[in-house]
């Protein structure tokens, strides 16, 4: 297609003569609040469940008592091999359609919106957190940052093919503004806050 040159020419002719400076982002993100408490409050507010745990054993016990282990549980974490399978990273992503629970670990979480930053290298497959009926994400308490400002400082030049902030379970309010959890993705999100 040959439109590129034409479009760029028109843009160049029509954009303002003077280049405006970029603002200083360091002025942002100075808000002070209790990071862990805020994280939990915001997560609950958008339909997620925070669960504080001391170690992986507690996570295993929690999953054992809250999910049906007869169903397909998958994870990327060898620590959880007792309850979830690890050998699905190279299968056809469509075959993950029957997954009941996906458990992954986040790089870090953001207190102001409860978002968790995950990238494809820790997701195993990009579709894994979306296609499962339920989702559990583990994050270290020390890896919670206050706002998105610190979040992008932390991401910096990080290399990834795909990355996403996940904040709560999939949801919709498209029918008369009634909130319904579980639109297309996970119906519920547990966030294990690890010491």
């Amino acid at each position: 297609m040959s439109s590129k040159g034409e479009i760029l020419k028109r843009i160049k002719a029509n954009q303002p003569q003077l280049v405006s400076e970029l603002p200083d982002l360091n002025l942002l993100g100075s808000e002070q609040f209790d990071v862990l408490e805020t994280y939990k409050t915001v997560l609950k507010g958008i339909g997620g469940d925070p669960v504080e745990v001391a170690d992986y054993n507690e996570i295993i016990n929690y999953i054992k008592s809250n999910y049906n282990l007869e169903k397909r549980l998958i994870t990327t974490l060898p620590e959880l091999s007792e309850i979830a399978s690890l050998d699905w990273k190279t299968v056809d992503p469509h075959s993950l359609q029957d997954v009941e629970l996906t458990v992954v670990k986040a790089h870090f979480g953001v207190a102001e919106n409860s978002g968790l930053w995950v990238t494809d290298d820790i997701l195993g497959q990009r579709v894994a957190p979306f296609i499962a009926q339920y989702l559990a994400i583990i994050v270290h308490k020390k890896d919670l940052v206050p706002t998105m400002q610190q979040a992008y400082d932390r991401i910096g030049k990080m290399e990834y093919g795909f990355g996403t902030f996940i904040a709560g379970p999939s949801k919709t309010a498209d029918i008369e503004q009634s909130l319904v959890l579980g639109a297309h993705g996970a119906r519920g999100l547990i966030v294990f806050l690890l010491d």
Binding site: I11, L25, L28, P93, I131, T147, A151, Y152, F162, Q177
Partner: protein, 466 residues
């Protein structure tokens, strides 16, 4: 397209206004969203600083967009993304179709993209025998009903759950009379899951594209963009060129503003950064102009290209809330749509900048500080000058100008006006008088201000002399 008969906003709004109960409900529903936005914004100490920062970033983008686009394309290509450029809607649609044709695929799953609405992609592909299924629940509902979305964030906001129930009963075989949103959403989930699992091509919109890294971000609450894109062999992402931002770190500013302004959420459930295609799969980006470069050259309206499509201006607009999105006959409705639409076609959309009270509420809630109500006011002047306003209005305004410019004529007009309104009100209070349409006419004073002043100033002078 331009030969189509367009129903004017006021006419369409009058139809919408016939069902008073529904109008009140529509008004309250949107105000509820607006109130959530306020609550959410007030929780951020830096809110005003964020708005100002976002606005400045967008200024920088607009003044340097040529170079950023070149940078973005190079980086995206380095990431393995195939980049296309489309001058207008037609070319956009042709490119999408050519990708489908190359892969010999006749079905597509789409995530919400207002740009494809603007380009009427669905209709175009349908003509080519390609089935498109919109996967955002609101879009899915309006698509089944063969309606366009009435809001850029809440596409089915004009519908009640009874309407959705009826639509799903007809198309998905759900239980008749079951109005439960949970039940209805679950039915759509089951039906669309099958769609996601079987489509080879997924199309999404783009919320932000980053020049520095060549990646783009798609925000959804439902996860539909991700379900589509991660299961398909080909991911096509369509963006207006103004979606560009300079650096990855700037996403921090915009992601803090977008969902809070749109629905009052702290952030959308998923803010997905697509940088590279999956191994062996294809990722395409279409960079679309479709009138945007013209708008860039209109100094008074350039700022409208800062828009991040949050819909806050619609939710707060007293005219939008009481006239409904469909009365705007444009893919983007409400205040911002009324600025963007005349740029695309002045004669077709000349009515839209007049569909505003100019109260300024839109400007106050805009997360990137677009001077929306000022631009609406400026469009009115441009449209009148270029002769795009209705004849009756032009004649009325010209008459008014003559009357106001001549004291004698003004006096006579005032006197006869007062006489007519008092003694033969039927001559004024009728359908010919557009002002009377939705208002009570005022009580007529006994005398004009000038007469009153003359009398009183004489009296006070006389008093002063005593």
């Amino acid at each position: 397209m331009s030969s189509e008969k367009i129903i004017q906003h006021s006419e369409a709004a009058a139809k919408f206004n016939k069902d008073v109960e529904r109008v009140n409900w529509h008004d309250e529903t949107l105000w509820f969203v607006r109130a959530k936005r306020d609550k959410s914004a007030h929780q951020i100490a830096d809110w005003e600083l964020l708005r100002e920062t976002a606005s400045q970033i967008k200024f920088n983008v607009l003044s340097n967009i040529h170079d950023y686009l070149v940078e973005f394309e190079a980086n995206a290509q380095r990431n393995g993304i195939i980049v296309h450029w489309a001058a207008d809607a037609k070319e956009h649609n042709e490119i999408v179709h050519s990708i489908m044709a190359k892969h010999d695929v006749k079905q597509m799953v789409k995530s919400k993209s207002m740009l494809t609405e603007e380009c009427h992609l669905n209709d175009y592909l349908a003509e080519k025998g390609i089935e498109v299924i919109d996967s955002d629940l609101g879009e899915y509902i309006v698509q089944l009903r063969k309606e366009p979305p009435s809001h850029i964030v809440l596409p089915a906001i004009h519908l009640k759950k009874e309407d959705v129930s009826e639509t799903f009963h007809e198309h998905l075989g759900t239980e008749k009379g079951n109005f439960n949103p949970q039940y209805l959403t679950e039915s759509a989930r089951q039906s669309l899951r099958n769609t996601f699992l079987t489509r080879k091509v997924a199309l999404t919109g783009v919320n932000f594209a980053v020049a520095e890294t060549g990646e783009f971000v798609v925000c959804t609450n439902e996860g539909n963009a991700d379900m589509g894109a991660h299961l398909a062999d080909v991911h096509i992402a369509c963006m207006g060129f103004e979606k560009l931002i300079p650096k990855r770190e700037h996403l921090g500013v915009f992601l803090r503003l977008l969902a809070r302004s749109a629905t009052g959420q702290p952030i959308t459930t998923f803010s997905s950064h697509f940088k590279k295609p999956r191994d062996g799969k294809e990722m395409h980006i279409l960079i679309v102009d479709n009138g945007r470069s013209t708008q860039l050259g209109r100094e008074d309206f350039r700022n409208s290209l800062k828009c991040i499509r949050c819909g806050a201006c619609m939710n707060t607009c007293p005219v939008y809330r009481r006239s409904g999105g469909h009365s705007y006959h444009n893919a983007v409705a409400g205040p911002i749509g009324s600025i963007l639409a005349p740029n695309l076609d002045m004669s077709k959309n000349a009515d839209l900048p007049f569909a505003s009270t100019l109260c300024g509420s839109c400007t106050n809630v805009c997360p990137v500080k677009i001077d929306i109500h000022d631009q609406l006011y400026k469009w009115r002047q441009v449209l009148v000058k270029e002769g795009h306003t209705p004849k009756a209005k032009t004649v009325a305004m010209k008459t008014m100008a003559t009357v106001l410019a001549n004291p004698t004529v003004f006096n006579i007009a005032g006197k006869s006006g007062r006489f007519v309104m008092k003694n033969i009100p039927g001559m004024v209070n009728n359908k010919m008088n557009k002002w009377y349409d939705q208002r009570e006419m005022p009580d007529v004073p006994e005398e004009s201000f000038r007469e009153w002043y003359k009398k009183n100033s004489r009296e006070s002078k006389e008093k002063g002399n005593e």
